[in-house]
Subunit: 166 residues, 2 copies
C-alpha cells in the first residue's frame, strides 16, 4: 500500500471513474456499495474535495444520508462485470458483496470500508451536502436525466486518505 | 491557440488555480473579473463540468446570478500582482481591468470574455447553481470561513471550450 497525493492522480482517476468505480458507504442505516461514473475533484473551502452524487431512489441514499463519510475505490483491473452488477442491482434486493465476491477492508480514516481490490482508494469525510433543486437546473438541459424526478444529492467529501493497493 | 482536452489538463490547472486564476463574467448586470483559488473538475450529468464558488458579498455575485456562462483563465506566467489586486479590490470601487492593465478577448462559445494573457482558458455554460445552505455544512468545520455568513453559491458549468494561448 502506498499513499498518493490526490492532486497527482485526480485526472487519472476521473478517466477511470467514467468506466465505473465503487462508492461504498457504511452508517447506522447499513452498508452498501454502488457503481458511480460521475465525480469531481478540486479544492473548495481550502481543502481537497471529492464530490459524488446519489439519486434519492437509490438504496445507498438512506445510508449515506445517515453517514459521516464515504469511500471511492477505482479498480485498476477489469471489474466491468462487478461494476455493471453493482450499478444495476439494488442492495435492497441482493447482497452485492456476496453476488460479486467483493470483500471490504477497513477504512484507515473513516467508518466506511473500501473495496478490497487492486486499485486506488479515496477516503472522504462528508463536509457538505446539497439536494439538487431542479428549479436551478437549466431548463433545456438533457431531459433524459431525471424522468422519475429522482434528483441527485451532491456529497462533498474532504479527502482524508488517498492510496493504492496491489 | 490550441484546443486541449480538459481532462488532460484539469489536474495541472487545479494546482495552478490554487495560486490564483481569473473568473470572468459578463451579463446584463455588467462585466467583472475576480480571483479564485478554489474550483473543481469532473464529470457530472455525463458532461465535463467545472465548478466555481462566489460569495454573496462579491460584486461578481449579482453579475453571475444574471449570467448564462463564465470563463476561467489560468495564467501561465507570474500574475501574482494582478491576482492579488483582483482578489482584494471590488469591481464596485475600481476598474480592475484598467488598474491591472488587463485586456479581454471574446469568448469562442460563451458571452463572457476571457482574460487576454498567456495561459489556459475554460469557457463554461452554467448548467446548475446552488446557494450554500449552512444547515448542511458540517458544524465543526473551519469557523473562520464564514464569519460574515456570506456563504458561497456554487456554479456548475459545462466546459464548452478549453484552450491555451501564448
Amino acid at each position: 500500500m502506498r499513499d498518493v497525493e490526490y492532486m497527482h492522480v485526480a485526472e487519472d482517476s476521473m478517466n477511470k471513474i467514467k468506466e465505473g468505480a465503487f462508492l461504498t458507504v457504511k452508517s447506522a442505516k447499513g452498508l452498501n456499495t454502488m457503481t458511480i461514473g460521475w465525480a469531481s475533484f478540486g479544492v473548495i473551502w481550502g481543502k481537497p474535495i471529492m464530490m459524488v452524487a446519489v439519486r434519492s431512489s437509490r438504496h445507498t441514499f438512506a445510508i449515506i444520508e445517515a453517514a459521516e463519510d464515504f469511500t471511492v475505490t477505482v479498480p485498476a483491473g477489469d471489474m466491468r462485470r462487478q461494476t455493471a452488477y453493482c450499478g444495476s442491482k439494488s442492495g435492497r434486493d441482493v447482497d452485492k458483496f456476496a453476488q460479486c465476491n467483493l470483500q471490504t477492508s477497513e477504512g484507515r480514516r473513516v467508518v466506511s470500508p473500501i473495496i478490497k481490490t487492486e486499485g486506488r482508494h479515496y477516503e472522504c469525510a462528508i463536509i457538505y451536502k446539497s439536494a439538487m433543486n431542479p428549479t436551478h437546473f437549466r431548463k433545456d438541459y438533457d431531459p433524459s436525466l431525471y424522468p422519475k424526478k429522482d434528483y441527485h444529492t451532491l456529497y462533498f467529501g474532504e479527502i482524508l486518505a488517498c492510496y493504492e493497493t496491489d
